[in-house]
């Protein structure tokens, strides 16, 4: 495999409801910033891949407008995944591995506030046997949380502590939309939204966009003083139907982690895409992350949850920790699908 490094990352200042800008207008400054910081002129970037879903925009071919934001003229080598931006990053990494290109731009965007996100995500379920029951994303996460409680693997207290930690850490993240000091006892007095989930265990509906430029080792060393190296990246999938899974574990996360190289451990921080607080317990177990690993210093998805972007943002936030010198080795995780169905793990390191 070729060495590949992250050269730059940019994201929007997230918002609960983007009132003025459309997707192209959200993307343009983010793409410009990522490209400019990469040190590679836009027209020399070898490949571009984006991640998004038509079901947030409410129209077919919604990714086509993003081509306008990239400035695809002269025509570019480009692809799109109907997946979180983390998988767009994966396709970029694959393209560099083929040797056809030496650099690539991954980006993603989503305006979840235009619809009722939990209900929109219901449209992601098996249309014949599951969707007609209309379980929304929050209800499915509540089932998973209940399974954790029943298995004696976690507690509501632990989830409130995760939420309080996330909001506290988010105070240092200017892009987060939910932040502050929360009292765990007070959080536990909140009413249930979907038992056993309270509001603080749920991700905020968030609009945003993010972009990242990566390059093969020789190019990265030439243009960047501080490339962040992608030491491993892998993704795996669990069955779709919640009824055939043990919801208290995530075999796909464990396998992706193993393939990416989590076995060596040594992580200073981990950015985990657990949209619902209880899922962090499952991910930590699957990835073998002990108490010594700081989880979600950015505040994580409980502080900002731009749908289709949050996975790429975990990689970006982990890279930022390395750029700032706060971490030498970091893990970033991304997920999509009901109850952590599909998972991607990236391992990052400083030089």
């Amino acid at each position: 495999m070729r060495d590949v490094a992250i050269l730059s990352y940019a994201q929007t200042k997230y918002t609960a409801h983007e009132k003025a800008r459309n997707e192209v207008e959200m993307l343009m400054p983010v793409l410009s910033e990522a490209v400019e910081k990469s040190g590679i002129p836009r027209k020399e970037i070898g490949f571009t891949c984006s991640g998004s879903t038509d079901y947030l925009a409410g129209q077919s071919f919604s990714f086509v407008m993003a081509v306008d934001a990239v400035g695809a003229w002269p025509p570019i080598r480009e692809s799109h995944v109907e997946m979180d931006g983390a998988w767009a990053l994966y396709e970029c990494w694959v393209k560099i591995q083929t040797g056809e290109v030496d650099s690539a731009l991954a980006f993603s965007f989503g305006r979840a506030s235009m619809g009722d996100l939990p209900s929109v995500l219901t449209m992601q379920l098996d249309p014949y046997v599951l969707q007609p029951l209309h379980p929304d994303a929050t209800s499915l996460a509540a089932l998973q949380a209940r399974a954790l409680l029943d298995a004696g693997k976690s507690s509501e207290q632990e989830w409130a502590e995760i939420a309080a930690r996330s909001l506290r850490d988010a105070k240092d993240n200017p892009d987060a939309i939910r932040k502050g000091d929360a009292d765990v006892a007070a959080l536990l007095k909140e009413p249930y939204v979907a038992s056993p989930l309270r509001a603080h265990t749920l991700p905020p509906v968030t609009d945003g966009a993010a972009a990242m430029v990566i390059a093969a080792g020789d190019v990265a060393r030439k243009v960047s003083e501080k490339p962040v190296w992608i030491r491993g990246i892998d993704h795996r999938l669990d069955p779709h139907m919640p009824g055939v899974r043990d919801l208290t574990v995530s075999p796909s996360t464990a396998k992706a982690g193993e393939k990416a190289g989590t076995g060596q451990g040594g992580f200073d921080i981990a950015e985990l895409y657990a949209p619902f607080a209880p899922q962090e317990i499952i991910l930590r177990e699957a990835l073998g992350l002990g108490d010594g690993v700081r989880i979600n210093p950015s505040g994580g998805p409980l502080a900002a949850h731009p749908m289709m972007v949050a996975g790429l943002a975990r990689v970006g936030e982990a890279a930022r920790q390395i750029w700032s010198g706060k971490a030498g080795r970091a893990l970033a995780h991304a997920t999509q699908g009901p109850c952590l169905q599909q998972n991607l793990v990236t391992i990052l390191e400083a030089e």
């Binding site: 077919s60 071919f61 086509v64 025509p75 570019i76 692809s79 083929t98 796909s252």
Partner: protein, 385 residues
Amino acid sequence: MAELCGVVGIGQTKHDAKRLDVSQVGLVREAALRALEDAQLTWSDIDAVVIGKAPDLFEGVMMPELFLADALGCAGKPMLRVHTAGSVGGSTAVVAASLVQAGIHDRVLTVAYEKQSESNAMWALSIKIPFSATVVAGAGGYFAPLIRGYMMRSGAPDDTGIRVALKDRLNALKNPNAHLKFPDIDFDQIQGSPMLWDPIRFLETCPSSDGACALVLSSEKLAEQAATKPAWVHATAMRSEPTSFAGRDQVNPQAGKDCAAELYKKAGITRPREEIDCAEIYVPFSWFEPMWMENLGFAEEGTGWKMTYEGATALDGDLPVNMSGGVLSSNPIGASGMLRFAEAAMQVRGQAGEHQVAGAKKALGHAYGGGSQYFSMWIVGDEKP
């Protein structure tokens, strides 16, 4: 640097207007099982799965690959979902091939599908978004003016499109999987069919189909050991450009020309018309055959129609085009691009049955999408590149 990649299994469904006998699950499994059977492999032989389809609104399921994954043996494996508009079937195969070429996986299953009968593509393409222009006319209304532009530029005879449609509809009679089959089709029937979007007549138009296509791709070592003769991937290429800007040539788009140029360069082809034995290209409306003949460099600009007129693109011509009957005869949109790629591979493997081009050694597969702005292509050969 890249590893070689071979197509070792090809499968497709019987395409039809409404495959009411199967769900989306049954449809993709039908194609995947046929590809595995062709390769004499089973689910456990597959390392990763790449799924492609056109807009999710075409079935009304958001990211349907997540629920289809169970039926395609994806559990515990990497699964990617590609969507690049109408070119997606081709792009999906290109992404799957890149996983092998990068040396990441030895055997990849790729599946593309559309089950248009479960929603309404015209509706899905015509949603009015506030503050943005919409054609509210589906694809035909969008492409008709481009065809007019081509007719004016080239001075092509008005019946060129009818001749393309007749050829493709006759070819479809030789393809057991084709959706539309008109056993007694002739020039007059096509000419007399209703004008839908002037100059596109009903019988010069693609149908809405349910269908799927699947390919099994292998690394060089495994392809050499394959049960049946592989089709070797000589080159792949993709290009995109914005939908509209002042001066954009939508009739003969730069992205298509650039894509073909990169493809030929990678495949070591300098004279495409002589070196390529047959081409299966994305022609959803008959006139796009001459337009793409020029865009792909098979004919000088303004002369693509002559290839149709002189019979060069017929099954017994010097460059047979759309041997399967093409998109005009079967159009499960998300799969349509992969069906083109699959037909090219079938030709060089000599498994195209009645629509086989004798002695085909190098074949082109082509797909396009969006407003003639997304392109994906591959060249496959009977021998290693």
